[in-house]
């Protein structure tokens, strides 16, 4: 057991740091670190810069333009990016669709779609959930009927993240309504400009429209845009679930947020002294830091193991989301009522936007999603229970 980084990994980390220091645009970092909202163009810009320097998708195999980076290096990369204020890479293309195409896609599909994911030119989104199929994904009903060399797609997707900016969507659709729910599901790639697609943003409680309903009305999709065989979509969906778990605990973002909380605790006061010197507050901070450190190393332990315990990803998802939510809650509490200001409505003067309070309440509200999406924490507990008790 040796928890020090190897010389090679240390060198990799140094190189990443140097690259970020040299190339991360200051305005993007400023927006990220001061709790500002994500700008889609920041994400595209940063993806292009990453790609220009060979960091477009470090976990991809070298032939596809990646570095074949180990899970540990992926973690180090994301950590350095997060701490420096880089925006998160859009996972739908880089982390979700790409591995699927490499495994299940045709050579033609790989050549058509992978390069523009790397450069950030194509924005992908995901069409999984439906109004009646959230946690119970297998009951989805959006239908695709084969008509010559096209599928005709009808139905509705919901909880589609950032699809209003997307060029393409990868979708799970039902191609066989007669077999049992998990069978009869197929994955299609659909250009968002295809006639018949309507995107309707959902307003969320933090005031953003981060997710959408997407309606499909006789949308024609060439058979060549089917990934894998017909009715094999569930296999692909499960592959993704298992594959995409390097960063399931979200530790880099929690560490970035915790650093911000610490800065706030040094500046904010309670009864005239810094919050950091308040016994109650410093203990809660301490307890949270312990959880954060533990989950970081639980994650590293999983990444380093040749084969991990199957329950660990779910535990990381549950605890990772809880910890990140707890950090946002404690940040809110640290600022007290001054975090409650939302939109300026007064003509006289603009609303104060000092770096400390900005976006803190919105972030707390927004992060409620962490324990709901990507397989809710309740679903994760069912999975762990199935693996351990098995009843």
């Amino acid at each position: 057991m040796n928890l020090a980084l190897s010389d090679d990994d240390r060198a990799f980390q140094d190189a990443v740091r140097a690259f970020i220091a040299a190339h991360l645009p200051a305005d993007i970092a400023q927006r990220q670190l001061s709790g500002g909202r994500l700008d889609p163009s920041d994400i595209r810009r940063w993806q292009a810069i990453l790609n220009d320097h060979g960091y477009g998708a470090i976990h991809w195999p070298v032939p596809f333009g990646g570095q074949d980076a180990s899970p540990l290096r992926q973690y180090l990369f994301e950590l350095e990016c997060a701490l420096a204020g880089a925006p998160p890479q859009l996972s739908f293309g880089v982390r979700m669709l790409a591995p699927v195409l490499m495994r299940f896609g045709t050579g033609e599909q790989q050549r058509s779609f992978l390069p523009s994911i790397l450069t950030g030119e194509t924005w992908w989104c995901q069409g999984y959930s439906e109004p009646g199929a959230g946690s119970d994904l297998a009951s989805l009903r959006t239908s695709a009927v084969l008509d010559g060399d096209h599928y005709v797609v009808n139905g509705q997707k919901c909880w589609n993240t950032l699809g209003q900016h997307a060029d393409w969507i990868f979708c799970l659709v039902r191609t066989d309504a007669t077999s049992k729910p998990q069978r009869g599901i197929t994955m299609l790639l659909i250009n968002m400009k295809t006639p018949g697609i309507t995107v309707r943003p959902t307003v969320l409680l933090d005031g953003t429209s981060e997710v959408n309903d997407i309606y499909f009305d006789n949308v024609q999709v060439p058979v060549s845009q089917r990934v894998g065989a017909e009715n094999e979509g569930w296999t692909i969906a499960k592959f993704l679930l298992v594959h995409e778990r390097t960063n399931i605990a979200g530790v880099p973002w929690s560490k970035r947020d915790f650093a911000r909380l610490l800065r706030i605790a040094q500046v904010a006061t309670r009864h005239g002294r810094p919050l950091l010197d308040d016994p109650d507050f410093s203990r809660r901070l301490a307890r949270l830091e312990i959880d954060l450190n533990v989950i970081e190393y639980t994650n590293l332990r999983m990444l380093s193991a040749a084969s991990g315990d199957l329950t660990t990803p779910s535990i990381l998802k549950i605890r990772g989301s809880e910890i990140r939510q707890a950090i946002s809650a404690l940040t809110l509490e640290a600022l007290g009522t001054s975090a409650l200001r939302l939109h300026s409505v007064s003509g006289e003067a603009p609303m104060p936007e000092d770096d400390l309070t900005r976006g803190v309440a919105a972030s707390y509200l927004n992060l409620r999603k962490l324990s709901i999406y990507g397989g809710s924490n309740e679903i994760q507990k069912n999975i762990v229970s199935q693996l351990t008790i098995g009843l």
């Binding site: 009951s139 409650l340 006289e348 409620r368």
Partner: protein
């Protein structure tokens, strides 16, 4: 020992709830949220017609002479209905008015307060304690600021708590017209959709006729305690409604071939939430019933109430959103509006930890040693 409400109290609640069910619908609220003023003058007029502003004004001044119980009953209804109108602030200010306003002022503005034509709300920034009064020719002069004062932009008068010594807690209550010279404010919408402002006082002159009490920290604490009681009542109303919405959702939302409410893990979480609501309910009414009496120590009762209200607001709000799944984080669902109201409630009037520490200090510290 009697935990029942009086017939009048029951009637008050019934009338109010009937009105709010009809006129303070969730759709109505969403419209009001988008309006320029951010609150409904029409709904306020209706509430005035029901005598709501009169509730806490003393009978000598022509009001209904309600106690802490009436204050809590009205605020509970306001929380249930997610009101954007300044009911709780006005009622707290009126309670203070009835107890501390000088006679001349009662004669002067009592009637317009009772009618709801003029609005009086409290301005208490106990956390920052940065409003300072200095003696002036006829009365006092106030400088400093007060942050995140709920409903301040809606009011005609402010009941302002100020310090008479630098760095000391507020110990003086004065009334200041919103239009007084030297006052400026920055107005915004809060996380829970209400209107609030940061106030700036630059040598605002307060004539002696506008001074209610001076050098009386206990009076300021009494007003703060009324505010905490009102907020806890609002929170109780909100968590009650939130819990009902959640139970309905669990009964109706279908996943895996049936309503999700049949899953035992979710059921048991609802029971925990329900139990917290029941406990908050108990302690709200205990605190309200003993508020004016000598039966117990009001300071301990109120600290305990705030601790419970903060914890329950946070727990029930977060659980309700989680149990609603994705729907819980959308603007279109009523539960997300309650959640935001509960988030704000968990922060206003000082944190749960501060109040618990104060309780421990007051209850257990011996011989002046700070705990």
């Amino acid at each position: 020992m009697d935990f029942q409400f009086t017939e009048e109290q029951r009637l008050l609640v019934e009338t109010l709830n009937r009105c709010l069910t009809d006129e303070a619908t969730f759709d109505q609220r969403k419209q009001t949220l988008r309006s320029a003023d951010g609150w409904s003058h029409a709904l306020w007029s209706t509430l005035c017609g029901l005598g709501v502003p009169a509730t806490l004004i003393d009978e000598v001044s022509g009001g209904l002479g309600g106690s802490a119980i009436e204050l809590a009953l009205v605020c509970q209804a306001a929380g249930q209905a997610l009101l954007l109108e300044p009911v709780s602030s006005v009622l707290v200010a009126h309670a203070a008015f009835s107890r501390y306003a000088p006679p001349a002022l009662r004669a002067d503005i009592g009637d317009t307060l009772i009618a709801g034509e003029k609005l009086l709300v409290p301005v208490i920034d106990d956390r920052h304690g940065s409003l300072l009064a200095t003696p002036a020719a006829d009365g006092l002069q106030i400088s400093g600021q007060a942050a995140v004062v709920y409903h301040a932009p809606l009011a005609d008068y402010w009941l302002v708590a100020v310090s008479t010594r630098t760095g000391a807690p507020a110990d003086t209550l004065v009334i200041v017209p919103r239009t007084a010279a030297g006052v400026s404010l920055k107005t915004y919408q809060t996380v829970d959709g209400q209107r609030a402002a940061d106030l700036h006082f630059d040598g605002v002159a307060v004539p002696s006729s506008a001074i209610w009490v001076t050098g009386d920290r206990a009076a300021v604490e009494w007003v703060i305690d009324c505010g905490i009681l009102a907020l806890a009542a609002d929170t109780l109303g909100s968590v009650e409604r939130t819990l009902n919405l959640t139970i309905d959702y669990l009964k109706n939302r279908q996943q895996f071939g049936g309503p999700i409410g049949r899953f035992q893990a979710l059921q048991h979480r609802v029971v925990v939430a329900l139990s917290k609501v029941e406990e908050l309910r108990t302690w709200l009414w205990v605190t309200a019933a003993r508020f004016h009496g000598a039966l117990a120590d009001r300071r301990l009762d109120v600290r305990a109430l705030h601790v419970l209200a903060c914890e329950t607001a946070r727990h029930v709000g977060e659980e309700a959103v989680q149990l609603h799944g994705g729907m819980g984080v959308t603007e279109e669902m009523e539960v997300s509006h309650h959640f935001r109201r509960l988030v704000a409630a968990g922060i206003r009037y000082g944190s749960r930890d501060e109040h618990l520490a104060a309780y421990a200090q007051h209850r257990f510290a011996r011989s002046g040693t700070p705990v």
